[in-house]
């Protein structure tokens, strides 16, 4: 096997230059320091911190996790330390570790998000902001509320002036058209969209005749959703010119390359970190090795080899059969 050096994995997301396209997904990597003794976070493309809200949130009652076939439902409910503690305690530590930081922000209204970005928009060492428009687990300000193209576009128009850092919109999957949402985000001034957050799902405990979660529904993540996330990522990538960040069931370098092949510019690793705490870094390394094997020097030469942005999704893949294999 060719030594994995020399593969150029760099990508850009708006103003943000990443050493490689692998980001730790929000809510699956804490505030970036919890796994630092096994993952050199500076070697990742970046770390997206747990979604932060203006006030701390205690999160939903148990149970918060239910494993399902090939995936898991979660009902965390955006438990987070709140803006103040995030700035005072969390950011400094993550900065000290040398990570490229993307702060995930959550709000129930456009105004909430403005206030968060007013506070954080100029924060030193924060390279980007991912706006969580797609939490399935909260009563207000969740995926259902935001899944309206015009609301997204207008909100992003208000947020755009508040920062020079990368502005990323994280989209929900449970919509008729991810493409429409992505286009709205592009028009609103987002530098990128993330496709996708968890899918709304449900599980029942027949023994106790209750939901297997503290709430009726939760968000499904993990390998089970990979084919669905891949299709939505492809759909978004075909619809917009800004970069798309793939998320959903990425467990390996192979998975990551699939998302990038259908048009993603970068990827997020989420649930995988619960199974292998080093998963994010493993994905980087496996991706590098796979590209080296295929003698591909730059990740960008791989990007979208299977996506034809002009074509509608169903036709795109069969048309091109390039032979990087």
């Amino acid at each position: 096997m060719t030594p994995p050096r020399g593969v150029d994995l760099r990508v850009r997301i708006g103003p943000m230059a990443l050493a490689n396209p692998v980001l730790a997904a929000s809510g699956t990597f804490g505030y970036g320091d919890e796994l630092a003794h096994v993952v050199d976070v500076a070697a990742l493309g970046g770390v997206i911190t747990k979604t932060v809200t203006l006030k701390p949130r205690a999160g939903n009652p148990p149970r918060r996790i239910a494993e399902t076939a090939g995936g898991m439902l979660n009902s965390i409910g955006l438990e987070n330390v709140g803006l103040q503690a995030f700035v005072r305690e969390k950011l400094p530590r993550l900065r000290a570790l040398g990570a490229t930081i993307v702060a995930s922000l959550g709000g129930e209204t456009p105004r909430d998000l403005e206030r968060l970005l007013e506070a954080l928009g100029g924060e030193r060492g924060v390279s980007g902001f991912e706006i969580n428009f797609s939490c399935p687990n909260i009563a207000r300000g969740g995926a259902r509320y935001w899944a309206v193209p015009r609301r997204l576009e207008r909100t992003l128009q208000r947020l755009r002036p508040l920062t020079r850092a990368a502005l990323i919109a994280k989209l929900p999957p449970d919509v008729t058209s991810v493409a429409d949402l992505a286009v709205a985000c592009e028009q609103g001034g987002a530098d990128a969209v993330t496709a996708v957050n968890t899918f709304v799902g449900m599980a029942v405990d027949l023994e106790h005749m209750t939901s297997r979660l503290g709430r009726a529904t939760g968000g499904l993540s993990g390998p089970a959703i990979k084919p669905l996330a891949l299709a939505r990522c492809h759909e978004a990538a075909c619809a917009v010119r800004i970069p798309v960040i793939g998320s959903g069931g990425i467990m390996s370098g192979r998975d990551a390359l699939e998302f990038i092949a259908v048009g993603a510019t970068a990827v997020q690793v989420g649930t995988a970190s619960f199974i292998h705490p080093r998963a994010t870094l493993d994905v980087v390394e496996e991706m590098r090795a796979l590209l080296a094997e295929r003698r591909i020097a730059r990740l960008l030469d791989w990007r979208a080899v299977l996506a034809d942005p002009a074509a509608r999704p169903p036709a795109a893949l069969n048309r091109r059969r390039t032979s990087h294999g």
């Binding site: 919890e34 148990p62 996790i65 619960f274």
Partner: protein
């Protein structure tokens, strides 16, 4: 404040042996490399089998029931019940099969606390207490071992417990719901019955079904006896990053939380994470009304 820097790693483990220990339970010994930080009693690990052994995606939390030095590292013992997909797949592993093991995780029993250690085990909750008895024996401390189950056959691991206690002359007290051996009744009733006869001060360390731990917690809070209870929760990560394993704090603990510098990895004012702050908690830390 408890230790923050985690000492866990994920290593490859090898099945040394696996044997039935009655009532459908299994004892599993796994060899792990020296690099693995030796666990303390009450700590747990996450066992991960992978797609060619099981359809389960997430690792399964399991208390360490024994730990001894072995040729190339450590040999860890586990006592478990094959009840679902993950544990049944574990039960299908033969000698020399490999799996991944993450640990040691969480905080164990504060066995260093002075006083007479009273170990209270319910059913398969005996697992970490066997390890605790071992550790106490190693530091030449006598303990009282209360062990309760539904019936005689459900007292799994009893021979192991006896063997451990014999070495130091610790005493074992049995009880069963059906009276088929030992005291007839719950382990807390047994505790109540014999507590006065034990050498004070007492420190209770308990593991078992949550219903039993509730009763132990209430008993110990009422008597002013310190107690430490090994809790369970559905878990995903086991390392504090998923926020999936909350246990409700008691009102007192909530108030205390505000002043303390509890790491957010452990939880927040309302919820304590079972995997990082626990799995062993003081009785006063949790809101037993709200625990299922």
């Amino acid at each position: 404040m408890k230790r923050v820097t985690p000492g866990w790693t994920q290593v490859s483990a090898r099945v040394v042996r696996q044997r039935a220990v009655g009532a459908g339970h299994l004892w599993l010994d796994l060899a792990v490399p020296r690099a693995f930080d030796p666990p303390a009693p009450g700590q747990f690990v996450q066992l991960l089998l992978g797609p060619t052994a099981t359809a389960a995606l997430l690792p399964r939390p399991m208390s360490v029931a024994a730990c001894r030095r072995a040729r190339h590292g450590w040999e860890l013992g586990f006592l478990y019940a094959p009840i679902g997909t993950g544990t049944r797949a574990l039960a299908a592993l033969e000698e020399d099969a490999t799996l991944e093991l993450l640990g040691p995780l969480g905080h164990g029993f504060p066995l260093e606390q002075p006083g007479t250690p009273v170990l209270v085990a319910g059913g398969r909750g005996v697992a970490p207490l066997l390890f605790a008895a071992d550790a106490l024996a190693r530091s030449r401390r006598r303990c009282e071992f209360l062990f309760g189950a539904r019936s005689r056959t459900q007292l799994v691991g009893l021979p192991d417990a006896r063997a451990r206690l014999e070495r130091l002359g610790g005493r074992i007290h049995l009880c069963t719901d059906d009276g088929s051996v030992g005291f007839r009744g719950h382990v807390v009733a047994l505790l109540e019955r014999i507590a006065a006869r034990l050498k004070p001060p007492l420190v209770v360390h308990a593991c078992g079904p949550h219903a039993m731990l509730k009763a132990v917690a209430r008993w110990s809070l009422a008597r002013g006896v310190p107690s430490h209870l090994a809790m369970e929760s559905i878990m995903a990560c086991g390392t504090g990053v998923c926020r999936g394993c909350p246990l409700p704090r008691s009102p007192r603990a909530r108030a205390a939380f505000r002043g303390a510098r509890t790491p957010s990895l452990y939880g927040n004012e309302e919820w304590a994470m079972c995997c990082t702050e626990g799995p062993v908690f003081e009785a006063a830390a949790l809101d037993w009304e709200r625990i299922e």
